[in-house]
């Protein structure tokens, strides 16, 4: 069953940045893209068990803080070694000043 979860306020995340969001034993990364849109992915890198929240957002790419692997956070596509496996993405909607992510 899928549900929309209220994750954060829109101004909790600077433009071109991300935050960590934990819910029901799972961890996510929520992004504020330079075009003002919001995105969500799994919180941990697919290379090793490292959270992406300390990484660097550059345009539409998140760079992992451990080995500089990169993903396109809009699609989850792995863009740079050492990451080879794509990142899971989650639908996002903004209502008022709140960001919601859809999780199952």
């Amino acid at each position: 069953m899928t549900q929309w979860i209220d994750a954060c306020a829109t101004d909790d995340i600077d433009a071109e940045d991300l935050i960590r969001f934990d819910h029901a034993g799972a961890t996510y990364a929520i992004y504020h893209a330079p075009d003002g849109k919001f995105y969500a992915t799994a919180g941990k890198c697919t290379h090793e068990e490292v959270h992406l929240a300390d990484g660097l957002v550059m345009d539409y790419v998140i760079e992992c803080p451990k080995h500089n692997g990169q993903f396109d956070y809009r699609t989850g596509e792995a863009k740079r070694a050492p990451v080879c496996i794509n990142l899971k993405t989650y639908p996002v909607k903004v209502e008022g000043a709140r960001v919601f992510i859809q999780v199952s």
Partner: protein
């Protein structure tokens, strides 16, 4: 005294996995997110400037060396060219491998491939070995890039200044990769999807060295090899000198880079050749920060780190006796004191990893 087994397929590596020492969460100094974001920002300008300078100097030195060949007057130019070829390529390989030197990815990739060739590392293999070095820095049986294994073999370390062990390991492995395939040890850290690239890179390198040797034979002169290949030997000393200082004599099997890495203040020429990797604790703690921002990172976190060594000579003066003591006791290591402003080492955690040696060696 514990006997260390550095093999990636040996019991120490298996034990590190079983005890949770491998792929553990490491200590980080706290840096406010805004400040860290500013430090991590990428830029092409510094690396373009440094790369033009590096390649420009290499062309100039090699050009003069060729012009003066075979006179001994060419020797200083070969020595200068050699250091840029056989040592600066190490730091370019390193920074571009991280993808932090340039902002533009293709620029990182081009310089990475050229530097990998010059430093004689298969670019496909070593990208992965270095990822493991960052995951399991100086963890015995896990880190494939431990420069000084205990007990140190001094003859090997000294031969390293002339590039001999590296080249002796590289050439047979290049031929193995080119004609047989990926080596079983490499299979432990290189994902299968990358194996064809390992073979392709090895074949390209084999072809270039083959052509250079053929040219040298055709000319009846070693001059082509003075330009390609030999500088990896006669110019290796600088990267070995700086590389040994990164972790030599410090603790292994810990998860705090303040215990196993060394920051050394260096002269500007060495810092250009080494691309600021003298800020080594800082680099390991925050590999996202590009080389040109490491002095700023150092200023931001030095209150939480052991005092840096004040020069290359002073750092060797500290490390060399420690390596000698490790001949008698492999467990001995240098444990540098932290300033009063720093968060203390997690003695409880490291005692579990090190046993009694953690305090005995203090």
């Amino acid at each position: 005294m514990t006997k260390r087994d550095y093999s990636l397929l040996g019991p120490d590596g298996a034990r590190a996995v079983a005890t949770g020492l491998a792929a553990a969460e490491w200590y980080h100094t706290e840096v406010p997110r805004k400040e860290m974001k500013a430090l991590m920002q990428r830029s092409d300008a510094p690396a373009i400037r440094d790369t033009l300078l590096l390649y420009g100097l290499m062309i100039a030195f090699a050009g003069i060396g060729i012009y003066l060949w075979p006179s001994w007057y060419s020797a200083p130019f070969w020595l200068a060219y050699g250091v840029l070829y056989g040592s600066a390529s190490d730091s370019r390989w390193h920074e571009c491998g991280h993808g932090t030197a340039f902002k533009t990815p293709w620029m990182n990739n081009v310089v990475f491939e050229i530097a990998s060739f010059m430093i004689m590392r298969n670019s496909a293999t070593w990208r992965w070995s270095h990822a493991r070095h960052h995951t399991d820095t100086y963890i015995v049986g896990r880190d494939p890039e431990i420069a000084i294994m205990r007990p140190v073999v001094f003859a090997k370390v000294i031969a390293g200044f002339f590039g001999l062990p590296d080249v002796a390991a590289f050439l047979p492995r290049m031929l193995y990769n080119a004609f047989v395939g990926v080596h079983p040890t490499e299979k432990t850290f290189v994902p299968e999807s990358e194996w064809p690239k390992v073979v392709r890179v090895a074949r390209i390198s084999t072809a270039i060295y083959g052509a250079t040797i053929a040219l040298a034979l055709g000319m009846g002169s070693i001059l082509p090899l003075m330009v390609i290949g030999l500088p990896r030997l006669y110019g290796a000393w600088h990267h070995v000198m700086t590389g040994l200082l990164q972790h030599g004599g410090l603790a292994d099997n810990v998860i705090d880079h303040r215990l196993n890495s060394r920051t050394v203040y260096m002269n500007p020429v060495s810092r250009f050749i080494y691309w600021n990797m003298n800020y080594h604790v800082e680099h390991h703690m925050f590999p996202m920060v590009p080389y040109h921002a490491l002095p700023r990172l150092h200023a931001a976190i030095k209150h939480d780190l052991p005092a840096p060594n004040t020069s290359i000579a002073q750092a060797f003066g500290e490390m060399w006796p420690a390596l000698r003591r490790q001949l008698a006791s492999e467990d001995y290591f240098l444990k540098r004191s932290l300033p009063a402003t720093a968060k203390p080492y997690r003695e409880d955690f490291h005692l579990a990893a090190l046993g009694a040696a953690a305090t005995a060696a203090e």
